[in-house]
Amino acid sequence: MYSAQITRANPTCLILLVDQSRSMADALPGDAGIRKADFVADVVNHTLHDLVIRCTKTEEVRNYYFVSVIGYGRTVGSALTGLLADRASAPIAEIAEYPMRIETRLKRVPDGAGGIVEMPVRFPVWLYPVADGGTPMCQAFTRAKTILEQWLREHPRGFPPTVLHLTDGESGDGDPTTIAREIMSLATDDGQMLLFNCHVSSRRGPKIEYPATDWSLSDGFARTLYEMSSQLPDNFIAAAQQLGVAVEAGARGFVFNADPSSVVQFYEIGTSLTGMTPHIWMDA
């Protein structure tokens, strides 16, 4: 299970579910005062950037992934804009071609003589920070389920789709457990759908990363998210360990009270798929 080779003929699907409710305008814990919505939008943009680069072979982007970014807050729907806005799921090559805009940022790179220099690089932006409205989590999961059911009809034998869900609070439209379990019960020949959850808070609280049991979870909402998180397959565990995250067998794809570095790692682990370098597992 979870060993299907990801190729252009046998791609996989990735859904990023992003909480864009009003409370995402609050700052992350810490002195920097960064708004959660700003930080998460930046991490999602980096994640899409890295996925594109991973699929790029010289000048061609190969469609190993189809990607959806669903935002939920005042509305529920694609958080992508322009030509991608109406697509339930877009091939990664189209994600590459149609960012909302391309910014110039400074990047620190080796100067070739042992030093570091800052050089301007083009950085695409797909996702605007949004913080508005309530938290219609159940509606967002329902939207994701519709996309997944369509995907599975067309790709019954590929690497199972992955849903990475980030939220800062409890659902505002009911208990999401049932719809989340329905999603987790969907499967390809290679295994059940993977649903991973990351919770960010404005309050500084004890961080819980990838627990294998719910013993340490005193918070009811934390237990709900734990229950609706898939176990990390072995190759994801290996990816987490490569990042220096202590993860044991049976761990769930779940982080509670994530700090900024945990949010970044959550997306890195969630998109690592086989945990191997792309040139090995993307064969054609």
């Binding site: 072979k57 690089v121 370098t277 054609a284």
Partner: protein, 252 residues
């Protein structure tokens, strides 16, 4: 005592299933007159990996004097990396191709030089990554480098980088080895998938390598392609580009 030594060389290149030869990122360099041969395997995810692999394999065998120390190889790779990156200048690239180019290109490399003149005939090889040199005497594998066992192949080999800032620490880990040559020894240069496959069949002594040897010796390219395609379908070899060079050394 043999006085005259000869090299008989055969080579074979096969792209991944469904790919064109022009997409193959393995490269073979042959300079039979100089007794120098190389295989390079461009990393698929790298920018312009085919060019980098070809530049390494073709350039290494053509360079005089031969590049058989880490220092000489490192200095030469630095020059070659600059040439490759200069060739990209002026190209109008998308943001993602530009990012990819910024990270440079990567390739596994193995090269061997035979010294068959005065004295005891010898070979010297330099290798970085998982493209391999295998010396076979009869059915016995006498030497294999830099990977000696089919179970030791990994998904993250060290590769020769085109980017200057990455070269010093990486190239310091290049393997340089030498050994003696006996008449009728057969040397193989193989890119990673073929090397892993070769070493596993050598361990199993199942006769497949004799068939490979025979098909190469008699130049049956279509049969060779069929052999590898069958092995791919049965998953006995990874679906990757295949580069094979067979060098038979005979004394008379």
């Amino acid at each position: 005592m043999f006085r005259v030594w000869q090299l008989q060389v055969n080579q074979f290149l096969l792209p991944k299933e469904g790919a064109q030869v022009s997409e193959c990122e393995d490269a073979i360099g042959v300079n039979a007159a100089a007794g120098r041969f190389a295989v390079a395997d461009g990393a698929t995810e790298a920018f312009d990996a085919r060019s980098w692999a070809r530049q390494l394999a073709h350039g290494w065998v053509a360079t005089e004097p031969p590049l058989l120390t880490r220092e000489a190889f490192g200095a030469w790779v630095a020059e070659q990396g600059s040439v490759l990156h200069d060739a990209w200048q002026g190209r109008v690239l998308s943001w993602y191709a530009e990012e990819k180019a910024r990270r440079g290109s990567f390739a596994a490399f193995v090269g061997v030089q035979f010294e068959l003149g005065n004295g005891t005939p010898r070979w010297t090889a330099i290798a970085l990554g998982d493209s391999c040199l295998i010396q076979r005497r009869g059915a016995l594998v006498c030497r294999a480098l830099p990977v000696a066992d089919h179970q030791q192949f990994t998904s993250t080999p060290l590769l020769v980088p085109s980017l200057g800032g990455l070269q010093e620490s990486t190239l310091a880990q290049a393997r340089v080895e030498s050994g003696a040559v006996e008449s009728a020894d057969v040397f193989w240069l193989l890119s990673d998938a073929a090397a892993e496959w070769f070493l596993r069949h050598a361990a199993e002594a199942d006769g497949v390598l004799d068939r490979l040897d025979n098909l190469l010796a008699t130049g049956q390219a279509e049969e060779l392609a069929s052999l590898f395609q069958r092995e791919r379908r049965t998953r006995r070899i990874k679906d990757d580009d295949v580069a094979v060079v067979r060098i038979v050394v005979t004394g008379s």
